[in-house]
Symmetry: C2
Subunit: 455 residues, 2 copies
């Protein structure tokens, strides 16, 4: 009988992260300061340890993973690759569907891959506290767990709408010893500014980032940690794709299409970039492999956004980055995939998309839950609403294969489980979920509010 | 570096369940009918398929696991055995601590090991619907998942206090297509009887069992499925201990002490019985291994209950079983380990305890959460409140080893994760949890209400 789970040994945990910069046809556009001039690494030392800043600007193809980080990865890595036999049968598709399952991490998502690395480097640098933001709570949980492992106090600014929708993510962070605040808070200048404009503000990831960055910048013992977007975060996530390639090797397959959901971009980067390495290295079977980022129609950053310099946060504290953006003042609708509501996208993912090395698709909310339920009923695992976007995109392709009879090998990353998202499933079952396409005129209008620097 | 996870291949999934009856010094006491006479297998055909009834009365040491059941197990089995390096370091104990993690099943606990088997045999027998009860929701989720896999409709009577405390367990069952009712319900004679006495009844596992059994007995297309207590359920769970033994063999160790939480008894049975097989077979290293059931002081069935014939349900619909019991009309306090609130215990576990082949310990609620949080902070995984009882008992032994310097090998089964129990953790952190020892006089009084048959 064919295997269901393709497992690796702990000795197969990658020894290096992959840095896609080494294989990009054009070098990444530099981040800019408030004066519109490229900033150097030194501008980031107030909030990041030097080891991470070096990774942020590195052009080395392979970045060694420190042994204590690999040891911490052993808690849950290598993660399993599943062959979705039952889902294939349920769909009646000739396609072969594989998924890697990152929900095996104690915090329940892929985010732990980078939180462990970030906590480790900060601890090495003598940092005692980390401030961060969280949307759906997956990143906050991941950093709380990692902080606990490396003896760092973690303070989490949690987007208020999620703080209220997902109290159990908050409890989970507290179980791992973190402090959690509903953002916007009166703790920071940024938070107070937002609250003055709208005391009932639901918050946004951009606002929460402003608060955490401000706290880190103002306290020498405190650094900042970001769960996506930045280059070093994308590098750390490549353990997903690197392991997956070894697992495909074990079963003698190679994916024709790779799917991952895309909010800030690190989940997609971690899943897909290692396949770009094969393309760049001239691996024959990799040349036609398509890499597809799945995002919500309600926050269609790649598929509808502007490719322009913009701030990473809502208030304008971060350097300017060249990326696809809906405008840093974008206020996302309260969709249930909280991790996909960010206004921008990783500069690396953005540039590769701009240069047509990767693709993107936007999927509507109700269809993603429909796919998630079909997946859960066939494969057992209840997926996170974010992951349902990748499942939807993959299912659509599997159904196309059914029409054409093509036995394509489809691969998606199941970035997390939905155990803390059951209220969203409840709303889906009761017919209360709505589809929402972010309006074209709002996107058009945002163009005029972008910072007037760079191009 | 020593391994953290000891993994097995899918081919290592056991091919047979272990039946402890073959190795018991005295054969199990028979269940009795309402007339006080032993009942035969035919009395159970209204609610169970013949294959399960045969397992219930079997004395064969090894029961073959059907290939479709083994295939379904591949979703999550073999489950990992972890060496708790970080917990050992945090405690500063010379003991070596190992735990098997059953929370990897999609429903989040060991219960899936038997729900898959039960759904399979019922489907083979042409049954279209299964009725069952659930306390904390773990069993209901497990049967919902298994029913979905084998094309059976599942109807779950969920103890009302849990239905209200754990709405997301309900959503999870619905995601897998099950119907869920807050028990007591007006659907059944049993439910109406309880509601007449107390319209505000919080329910109990015993009441919910009555409702599900009644529904199954009255509909030819419907059978009943029980998540613990019965012999066949104990057999199915032995995949836990059987795999663990293979895993210990891989690292060249053998446990000195085995811990598992004990409510209805199947989790303990599945974890511990395979080590009794080694004792019975004369395996030298097994002779001094101690097997310890951990139960709550608020429901101290083994440590304080009566060894007597009693009903399995609250109303008196089931056969009488010789077991440790607090009385079938026992109303448990609303402690957070919902899966450990059952008034009785597996007849097999009870008899082995009565004959001193296994041991039991009762632990108070607050101390179990304290242990669970210490575990989560060291090992990452947030344990279910039920599992925290085993962790507490194991931690106490690890701390004793610290005093004596003994490098004992301690093993416990982490029967499930706590993702749906975060509100209980919240109450622990806010100091709202209380300890409760079930009063001696209540136990004494229950003796006089036991059915007057057998001894």
């Amino acid at each position: 009988m064919p295997q269901t789970k393709i497992l690796l040994d702990e000795s197969d945990i990658p020894t290096h992260w992959y840095n896609v910069v080494a294989d990009m046809p054009n070098k990444p556009a530099p981040p800019l300061g408030p004066d519109g001039k490229p900033i150097g690494p030194e501008a980031l030392t107030a909030i990041f340890p030097m080891a991470l800043i070096e990774q942020e600007v590195s052009a080395e193809r392979w970045i060694p993973i420190p042994e204590p980080v690999r040891e911490a990865y052993r808690m849950y890595r290598p993660s399993p690759l599943f062959r979705a036999h039952k889902l294939e049968a349920a769909l009646g598709t000739p396609a072969k569907i594989y998924y890697k399952y990152e929900g095996v991490s104690p915090a329940g998502s892929h985010k732990v891959n980078t939180s462990i690395a970030q906590a480790y480097y900060n601890a090495q640098a003598g940092i005692k506290r980390l401030a961060t933001e969280t949307g759906a709570g997956q990143w906050g949980c991941s950093l709380a767990l990692a902080g606990q492992m490396f003896g760092i106090d973690v303070r989490v600014y949690m987007v208020k709408v999620s703080y209220n929708q997902k109290p159990y993510r908050r409890s989970m962070m507290q179980t791992w010893g973190a402090e959690v605040f509903a953002s916007p808070t009166p703790n920071t200048v940024s938070g107070r500014k937002i609250l003055e404009l709208d005391p009932e503000s639901n918050g946004s990831l951009g606002i929460a980032i402003s608060e955490a960055v401000e706290e880190a910048a103002n306290r020498p013992d405190t650094n900042y940690a970001l769960g996506s977007v930045l280059n070093h975060v994308c590098h750390h996530q490549t353990v997903i794709g690197l392991e997956a390639k070894k697992q495909f090797e074990k079963v003698g397959e190679y994916p024709d299409m790779v799917f991952a959901c895309c909010g800030g971009g690190s989940n997609f980067a971690g899943t897909a970039f290692p396949f770009l390495a094969d393309k760049a290295a001239g691996v024959a079977k990799a040349q036609n492999t398509r890499l597809i980022a799945a995002e919500p129609t309600s926050c269609p950053t790649l598929t509808k956004g502007h490719y322009a310099y913009d701030f990473g946060d809502a208030v304008g504290l971060t350097p300017l980055m060249l990326m696809y953006t809906l405008g840093h003042d974008f206020m996302p609708p309260g969709i249930h995939a909280g991790g996909l509501r960010y206004h921008g996208d990783s500069p690396l993912v953005s540039q590769l998309y701009h240069e047509k090395l990767i693709e993107a698709v936007a999927v509507p909310q109700v269809a993603t839950f429909e796919a998630g339920v079909a997946f859960a009923r066939a494969e057992g695992i209840i997926p996170a609403p974010e992951s349902c976007h990748a499942i939807r995109a993959c299912l659509d392709e599997a159904l196309r294969c059914k029409e054409t009879g093509e036995p394509k090998v489809l691969f998606f990353n199941l970035s997390g489980h939905g155990h803390f998202d059951m209220s969203s499933y409840d709303r889906y079952f009761s017919g209360q979920l709505e589809d929402y396409a972010y309006p074209e005129h709002e996107i058009e209008a945002a163009l005029h509010r972008l910072p007037k620097v760079g191009t």
